[in-house]
Amino acid sequence: MEKAIKRYMPIFVLPTFFAFILGFIIPFIMGIWLSFCNFTTVTDAKFVGISNYIEAFKDTVFRHSFWYTALFAVVSLVVINVFAFALALALTQKMRGTNIFRTIFFMPNLIGGIVLGYIWQLIFNGILAQYHTALGLNEWYGFWGMIILVSWQQIGYMMIIYIAGLQSIPGDVMEAAQIDGASGIQRLFRVTIPMMMPSITICMFLSITNGFKLFDQNLSLTAGEPSKMSEMMALNIFNTFYGRTGWEGVGQAKAVIFFVIVVAIGLIQLRATRSKEVQQ
């Protein structure tokens, strides 16, 4: 069996490998190169050194979008994971209909971000109109709007991961804890959560990176209104690229900075939660 897999490995690996190179590695390298260039179309670029990076760091809107995005990522991380974990706990109890509930909670995740953004925009604006205001008039309406939207969309997904984690906790450990007289709360914090660390690592990683690279929902829900105050980093990059003549390179430079930030935060988070994982 193992030999067969080895023999046929190229057949399985090569198509994806080429796709990965074409769709990921090449654009990535080109992207880094272009961040040092002045260009209109990506195949016709002129090297200009680091001036794009200087412009990018000088941009106050970009700095604002960084803090706004960071705050968003943290708040969404907490909200999503707390709710997803609670739901997972509830839906692994022995009761009727858990499968139906799991399906229902998972469903929002199947709808695309742009569509969700527009639909939630109608809902929020419908409510805010009662108070003679609108989503686009206050950056914090947009912020909480996006938190609600993203939570609604992602809680179900994270919940599924947590359920899988919960189900993999061996029954005898729990039983032993119970016999030793641990209370429900003690069992949750001393047994369940430490045993769940691998799932928590994954879920936190996914939700923090999702928070940072949020684009569709931001574009369709607030489009950065009012005056770019609710513009997150990904949208800011996009708008820089297309908003002004000759600023494509600056947008590209911002994209590289953005990449570095997201990778750094992702790695720090992975390391921090990994260290808490226990051997079963």
Binding site: P15, A129, T133, L135, L137, G243, R244, G246
Partner: protein, 432 residues
Amino acid sequence: MKRKVLSAVLAATMIAGLLAGCGGSSDSDKKSTEDAKGKVYYLNFKPEADEYWQELAETYTEETGVPVTVLTAASGEYEKTLKSEMAKTDAPTLFQVNGPVGLESWKDYCYDLSGTEIAEELTDESFALKDGDKTAGIAYVVENYGIIYNKALLEKAGYSADDITDFESFKKVVEDITARKDELGFSAFTSAGMDGSSDWRFKTHLANLPIYYEYKDEGIDNTDAIKGTYLDNYRQVWDLYINNATCEPTEISTKTADDATADFVTEEAVFYQNGTWEYNNIADVGDENLGILPIYIGVDGEENQGVCTGTENYWCVNAKASEDDIQATLDFMNWCVTSDEGVEAMCKDMGFVIPFPKNMESENTLVNEANKYMEDGKTPVTWVFSTMPSEEWKNGVGSALTAYAADQTDENWDAVVKAFVDGWATEAAAAK
């Protein structure tokens, strides 16, 4: 077992991917065999005309054998599509820029059209877009915008277009309609939507007027630093639009272009600031009920002002295309504006007024209504909004206008002025 099913599914997807790949390549093979004569690839800017361009392209291919591809990118997506299409081997040979600012990013790609047949055909030099001595673009459609109104409703309110000759008289009519809104059953203005589908009507088209008058005073046609002399007038008009509309001023950030069109077509409102291109969408009101008024902003001597007439549609030929393709494209452009089929498609089907001798009388009521101002000797307002420094500038002004509408204080208006004047200077400096 499960694993086998999974691998079967994966294998199937892989094969499907491979097949799709093959399909794609055979497609491009077909294209390259016809390369010999040159070909035309037009990236169209006007979604409402897409259908007719496709037909026209087919007719041309039947007549001459030159393949013509037309791809349409809806207005907001145009720059994005153009940027990615231009990077391809089969780049568009014919594309559009919107004026001097748009030209700035594409000038290296613009073939010099001076001396070509189509450039000679233009009825007026001013319809050529110049980059120094080079003719970089050729306008192919002339459009008008102003305040479209419903004649029947205006009459019902007890007025006619003759009562409106300047800002003061217009304001009187509008405010009277608002005062009697419940009795009449309609409002003065359609919603001044600041949603992305509609905000260009105000941040770009309405903003054209204060800029136009400032340029006129200064005797210039472009600037790096706008003074904002007429911004108080801009505020007057904006106040009028938002406070006499079908919706509350706080709601405009959520209103779309469709909402405004619906207000107008369902006779909820008399006035609708938009242009001649909107004709097909509002024709349901009936030709006899449609009229267009100039946008008065309260400037001395504006009784003689006409509607805003100009173009933001310039054809450019891709200088980086092959010789054959450039020639084929030039021939195609020329055919469009000189042959009977071409002119008929452009004037009748697409409803364009073209700046070429063969232009036909339009069936678009709004165009004919707008032309009356010209015939009466009124001075048309030229489209200077193509000199606005960037999209960023427009967005800045648009956001400030929305915020002001929600809370109409002087401080908020100062933010509009800041976005307008300071924003202009910043953006003009930022454009490289």
